[in-house]
């Protein structure tokens, strides 16, 4: 099987994020592989291992697909060190400030040219948190959408079944190849790259392409940020020590604020 995993480099979730001219300042923060994409890489590895592996000459290949600045090779390298075979990074100055629609258009072109059977994504990125790219990819490619999966079962003959878990309940879904999957974080426990994996990743190919090489033109963002203001910091309020009356103090506070 040919499996693709979409990965994104994001600002470290511990870092303080700022808006500059209506877009997230990505230059001046530590950047890492999106946490939630690690589950997608792990799931791809798990599926490959279950069906003949992805070693050289193995039955499966796992390709990471990413879009971002050149610096995103660091995050992509992490996925390679976990065990993916190779990677494609679309990097082009014209893509700065792309929205999810533009991003999904570029990724969809790379995916459709690659002839994959399965595309796996995380459910969201920890920076924008929109959760829309997997659905957009499915719509653009015309492939089945199997998203918010807490369990994935692959029949290499060409069928995927998932358990979808959302606030609306639990659904069992299935579809024939090719499919777009997104996985929730409880699906697996992503492996730590081994020393061997890290060394091997240094030799793996990251195919950097600009938009011309991909064969799409840049699409400007279809929504604009007109204003961004830091939220006034919350000031600490009253703090009391519980000397047997903490519960009562709490009730008085609630009553005073008319919350009970």
């Amino acid at each position: 099987m040919k499996i693709a995993v979409c990965v994104k480099q994001v600002p470290d979730s511990w870092a303080e994020k700022k808006m500059v001219n209506g877009v997230l300042d990505r230059e001046n923060v530590d950047a890492v592989l999106n946490d939630l994409d690690e589950y997608a890489v792990e799931e791809a590895l798990r599926i490959a291992e279950e069906h003949g592996g992805n070693d050289e000459g193995g039955a499966n290949t796992i390709t990471l697909i990413s879009m971002g600045p050149e610096r995103a090779t660091e995050a992509v390298r992490k996925g390679l060190s976990m065990g993916a075979n190779d990677a494609i990074l679309v990097t082009d100055a014209a893509l700065a400030g792309s929205d999810a629609l533009a991003t999904s258009a570029v990724l969809a072109k790379v995916i459709s040219d690659g002839g994959y059977d399965i595309v796996i994504c995380g459910t969201e990125s920890t920076d924008a948190r929109m959760s829309v790219v997997p659905a957009m990819l499915s719509a653009r490619l015309g492939w089945a959408q199997l998203t918010f999966a807490s369990k994935v079962v692959v029949d290499p003959a060409g069928k995927v079944s998932i358990t979808r878990v959302t606030e609306a309940g639990v659904d069992e879904l299935s579809a024939d190849f090719p499919v777009v999957i997104s996985v929730v974080e409880k699906i697996n426990e992503p492996r730590y790259p081994s020393f061997k994996g890290i060394m091997a990743a240094k030799k793996k190919t990251i195919d950097q392409k600009d938009l011309a090489a991909v064969g799409v033109s840049a699409q400007s963002a279809w929504s604009q940020v007109n204003d961004a203001t830091p939220r006034p910091a919350r000031a600490a309020g009253l703090k009391v020590n519980d000397e047997g009356n903490g519960g009562e103090a709490l009730i008085s506070f609630l009553a005073e604020k008319k919350l009970i």
Binding site: S138, D171, W222, G246
Partner: protein, 317 residues
């Protein structure tokens, strides 16, 4: 006057509170037409429950493909309706299903999309709270039909009764939207407690519960609140993942958030710091969450919560 579409949101077989919130936000932009996607034969009954908030009319689309093929089928029907009727904007609830439907409609109608709006102005400018609530952003769609997902519990809903006209339209769903097949669906296991993201009050427990949520649950029940949990508590298996509040869990912004035995890692804050009022109960006086608490009690939650629960019950009796 221009028309605004809202995708009616249901809890079981009744329109949810979120539907009234979407209608309230939509009415600022134009007359609200609530779109109801229903199984064959169920449209009229579902439409009849869309009777709160400023809804001008209800448009019912019936098809068994909605339950058989999920997100893609719903989005396809909605996108075709949007193309045909050209509303000024489309508002959808910001949950997993709503966001995915909105995402597909944006692609299919070549329209810009904004997710997780917490407010909407008359010119369809959306307010978002981003980066874990640290920044407030005003955005506007500049291409196609503005498609905006609105976070439940953010817009103060007008719940006044309405008697919208009910009409029906044809659900047009293409073959590409039927590729995923749903073989079974189970509604969420509902306790007697409100939905976490829709609740006015949320009481959450963390590491300090040491795995025992009874005090947290009892206090929540006395207040009619939903129960949340920190990632530490859900990872330890003490409480279901579906109740996790924080960056990788749910984002909540209730009127009152009570954090019990939660130190307040930045990931947890990201999911709750837009709550109107925050109360923190923690043994550790240095817990970082005290820094953003309107009221804090330094003490053991197993001593503080039972007394507080008694206090609430006594007031209500």
């Amino acid at each position: 006057m221009s028309n605004v579409f809202i995708l009616a949101d249901f809890s079981g077989d009744k329109a949810s509170k979120t539907t009234a919130e979407l209608a309230t936000a939509g009415a600022r932009i134009g007359s609200v037409i609530a779109v109801v996607l229903a199984p064959n034969g169920k449209g009229a009954a579902l439409a009849a429950t869309v009777n709160q908030g400023p809804v001008t009319s209800v448009l019912v689309l019936e098809s068994d493909d909605f339950s058989a093929h999920g997100v893609a089928a719903s989005a396809d029907a909605l996108a075709n309706l949007v193309k045909e009727k050209s509303p000024t904007a489309l508002l959808v609830a910001s949950h997993a299903f709503g966001k995915e439907v909105a995402a597909r409609v944006a692609v299919l109608t070549e329209s810009g999309i904004i997710t997780d709006a917490i407010d909407i102005a008359a010119d369809a400018t959306a307010t978002q709270s981003v980066f874990g609530g640290s920044t407030t952003v005003l955005s506007k769609v500049s291409h196609g039909t503005p498609i905006i997902t609105v976070r439940p519990n953010s817009v103060e809903a007008d719940f006044s009764a309405s008697t919208p006209a009910i009409e029906s339209a044809t659900a047009t769903i293409g073959a590409e939207a039927k590729k995923a097949r749903i073989s079974s669906s189970q509604p969420p296991v509902k306790g007697g407690r409100p939905e976490l993201t829709e609740a006015n009050i949320v009481v959450s427990g963390g590491r300090g519960t040491d795995g025992n949520f009874t005090a947290v649950e009892a206090f929540a029940d006395s207040l009619g609140a939903a129960v949340g949990a920190s990632r530490a508590a859900t990872d330890a298996g003490w409480y279901p993942h579906s109740h996790q509040v924080g960056q990788t869990g749910k984002t909540v912004s209730p009127q009152l958030y009570v954090a019990c035995g939660i130190s307040g890692a930045i990931q947890h804050r990201a999911g709750m710091q837009t709550s109107k009022t925050i109360i923190v109960v923690n043994k550790d006086p240095e817990a970082p969450l005290f820094d953003i608490a309107d009221f804090g009690v330094v003490g053991d939650l197993f001593n503080v919560l039972p007394k507080a629960t008694e206090g609430v019950l006594a007031r209500n009796s």
